[in-house]
């Protein structure tokens, strides 16, 4: 079974200890989380988490089902094979003198990034995009002297009107076993 990067989105209750419980499930099964992003969702009290994890589809499905057993996890879904918009944000601090400043600005403009802070000997740049795009701008800027790099990791949203993972109504038990029967269980439909 081939291993690849999966994007998993979870809707979780915003309560102390939840992150620890979820991280513990990944660790227990021997996965290394490549990136993890957490923030408030459209529902008060619920946060949305985006993970990227490297692994084979079957293994990821098993962990996802384990994660769903965390009571505070309201919904979880592997969106890897769905049409998604995926982005990350990076802050990049580059050594810069007045001699090379314009060359750096040219690269920043090419990537539709922004200069967010200027000092006599440094520039701070804000870039958003896919991981590939961030990798590319970092690669081009590194020769000038990369002083610091902060990346948020991927956030993802399914394209179209559908919600990536939405909170079921509290009495939505039917929704949970809706397609439990259809052949091999699929994450997000079985659970």
């Amino acid at each position: 079974m081939s291993s690849r990067l999966h994007t998993i989105v979870a809707l979780v209750e915003n309560r102390p200890g939840v992150l620890n419980k979820i991280a513990s499930k990944w660790r227990q099964r021997g996965f290394n989380i490549e990136s993890l992003t957490v923030g408030h969702s459209e529902v008060p009290g619920l946060s949305r988490m985006t993970f990227t994890v490297d692994g084979a589809a079957h293994d990821i499905e098993q962990v996802t089902k384990q994660l769903y057993k965390v009571i505070e996890v309201v919904k979880i879904s592997d969106v890897t094979d769905q049409e998604v918009v995926a982005r990350e944000l990076a802050l990049i601090k580059i050594s810069s003198t007045k001699d090379n400043r314009s060359a750096i600005i040219e690269i920043v403009d090419l990537f539709r990034a922004k200069i967010v802070d200027v000092a006599a000997d440094a520039l701070s740049i804000e870039a958003t995009g896919t991981e590939d795009k961030i990798d590319a701008i970092v690669r081009l800027l590194t020769p000038y002297g990369l002083k610091e790099l902060v990346r948020t990791g991927r956030i993802a949203m399914v394209r179209g009107a559908k919600t990536t993972v939405s909170a079921p109504s509290v009495n939505g038990a039917e929704a949970r076993h809706r397609s439990a029967g259809e052949g091999k269980p699929q994450v997000g439909s079985l659970i």
């Binding site: 620890n20 769903y68 009571i71 505070e72 909170a167 038990a173 949970r176 076993h177 029967g181 079985l190």
Partner: protein
């Protein structure tokens, strides 16, 4: 409405949940709970001697009654002592509600005296846990704990409550209903899947039922029997499934797996359909997965979606409560016969009888266990420790009393036998409870013997004493060149030890004395301990060696025994 203390709210919650017994141990951080206890005389408290045993006793109590076992412990060491007991309940899906006192809330995170981050520590071994920091949250937290522990796939829940929160005042309001967005277990099987399962059953010629703990937990023994009889399907029960199907039934086949019946392991390899009901295809059942049941399609009924295709690829998964799914399935199954298949199995059973006790004057452990079963009547309960005696106890358990076999399956916790037997006797005060003890496991929790006297619990303890950590010794002999390292230990005089705790002690080393000693124990109104001095070196067979498939099970000792070497202490 008058306000009451947090500690009283805890007890009010327990009363609402129908709690009759708490297994616990007091300490600085749960003193307010103990202070409030006298106001609730209808709730009995059993004071254990070590918190691990509170969890084990509550565990056995829960398995037998089907209600959540309630455990109290203090912060820090009290809470960490629970860990093994909680892990045991987690692995075997047993509902526990553990309420721990925590250090006062302003000391949390400051390494206060007797502080341990028990919610952090227990994350991987609980179904849910929570730290309550507001007295108003106590009632909802405990209501949720009971709801989560006892519904869906049951499991342990821990609620950690700082001492100051136990002392704060609030109005008591118990939630009528618990609703959790992230927790709605599927109980009814998907109708289409049930239909597909019925179809597979109709088409199969060599079907087998593998029934697990889920049948016991769901109290679905009747439904299982109905399905098996209707379609004439032989029933294998896993270690934890024992008691989920009558032992005397002609379709009952005993246990499979590492020390299971030889015929079962062969039948699984030959079957064209396996119906896993409330079981999880554990490695001790399946052996090497690549060789498991090569000819079989698999129907898997389980309430936990995470069990589906976890170990074994499933053709027809049905997520749901075992009892409900069986009720859905039974009317769709046409009466069938599988005479040729049952003849195949009967031939296998005749040629490989698996559990024949050698006729000898020596005192064999299997003989003692079999005798206890034969003499204790149809209503007795049996609790075991872990190791050789546990496997023999499972092999020879062919009783009809449902839910009467209590053992530590998933975690394999030595020392379970003593506190669990006490919990079983608390649950069934008027029935016989036998504790099959290993001489090693017994020494891990033997301090709890005192409870038998203190609470008048007439448990019958049978130490299957081979002066070895027998299963480890067996592996050392078979797979480590006979290097018997650290498997013999100094033993106390178990008879005197029992007497010192107010328990009648007997020692039996002669085969001729076995029957009379068991009868004497059964007739004695109080607790009895019998130290059966059995054969030192007796291996447990059949055995599937580790790392291979079921087909390689050996029913008779045929491993080349290594030359005897002195045991090293």
């Amino acid at each position: 409405m008058t306000k009451m203390k947090g500690a009283e709210i805890i007890l009010e919650c327990l009363r609402r949940e129908g709690t009759e017994v708490i297994f616990g141990y007091p300490g600085g951080a749960n003193l307010p709970m103990y202070d409030a206890l006298h106001k609730y005389p209808d709730i009995r408290h059993i004071l254990v001697r070590h918190e691990q045993c509170a969890a084990h006793a509550a565990d056995a109590y829960a398995r037998i009654t089907g209600k959540a076992g309630v455990v109290w412990a203090t912060s820090g060491p009290g809470a960490t002592n629970l860990v093994t007991g909680i892990a045991n309940a987690w692995m075997d899906s047993v509902p526990l509600v553990c309420i721990t006192g925590a250090v006062v809330s302003w000391l949390i995170g400051r390494d206060g005296f007797q502080e341990a981050d028990i919610t952090g520590i227990t994350i991987p071994i609980v179904k849910h846990n929570t730290l309550v920091l507001d007295v108003e949250d106590i009632a909802p937290a405990i209501a949720e704990a009971f709801h989560i522990a006892t519904t869906g796939r049951p499991g342990p829940v821990l609620v950690d409550i700082p001492r100051d929160v136990q002392q704060q005042l609030a109005e008591f309001q118990y939630p009528e209903k618990v609703e959790l967005a992230g927790y709605q277990p599927t109980t009814v099987g998907h109708p289409q899947q049930v239909k597909k399962a019925a179809q597979l059953i109709a088409e199969s010629e060599r079907p087998l039922i593998l029934a697990g703990h889920g049948v016991v937990i769901a109290r679905a023994a009747e439904e299982l029997q109905e399905l098996a009889e209707r379609a004439q399907i032989p029933v294998i029960t896993t270690l934890l499934g024992l008691g989920g199907f009558p032992g005397s039934h002609e379709l009952f086949m005993g246990m499979p797996g590492m020390h299971g019946m030889y015929w079962n392991n062969m039948a699984i390899q030959e079957a064209d359909l396996l119906i896993g009901i409330g079981m999880r295809f554990d490695d001790r059942v399946t052996g090497a997965l690549k060789d498991f049941a090569p000819k079989a399609k698999i129907i898997h009924i389980d309430i936990d979606p995470a069990e589906i295709s976890k170990n074994v690829k499933t053709h027809v998964p049905i997520v749901g409560d075992v009892k409900k799914v069986l009720q859905q399935l039974i009317p769709q199954v046409q009466p069938l016969r599988h005479d040729a298949w049952r003849r195949w199995i009967d031939d296998m059973r005749r040629d490989h009888p698996s559990i024949v006790i050698p006729d000898t004057e020596r005192l064999l452990p299997q003989y003692v266990i079999k005798k206890i079963y034969d003499l204790s009547g149809p209503k007795a309960y049996y609790v075991t420790g872990v190791g050789q005696h546990q496997m023999w106890a499972a092999q020879f358990f062919w009783g009809d009393n449902p839910y009467s076999f209590v053992t530590s399956g998933g975690l394999g916790t030595m020392g379970f036998e003593v506190p669990a037997a006490i919990g079983a006797q608390v649950a069934r005060p008027h029935d016989t409870v036998w504790s099959f003890c290993g001489d090693g496991g017994f020494q891990m929790t033997m301090q709890e013997l005192a409870l038998c006297t203190e609470y008048e619990l007439p448990v019958k303890f049978a130490i299957i004493n081979n002066h070895y950590l027998g299963m480890v010794r067996q592996w050392q002999d078979l797979f480590y060149a006979g290097n018997k390292q650290s498997v013999r230990m100094f033993q106390p005089d178990f008879v005197k030890l029992a007497e010192s705790m107010g328990v009648t002690g007997l020692r039996v080393s002669d085969k001729a004395m076995v029957q009379s000693s068991i009868e004497a124990a059964l007739q004695h109104p109080g607790a009895v301990l019998i130290d059966f001095q059995v054969e030192d070196v007796e291996d447990c067979y059949p055995m599937m060696p580790p790392g291979v498939g079921l087909s390689e099970t050996v029913d008779q000792p045929k491993f080349e025994r290594q030359p005897e070497r002195e045991a090293v202490r």
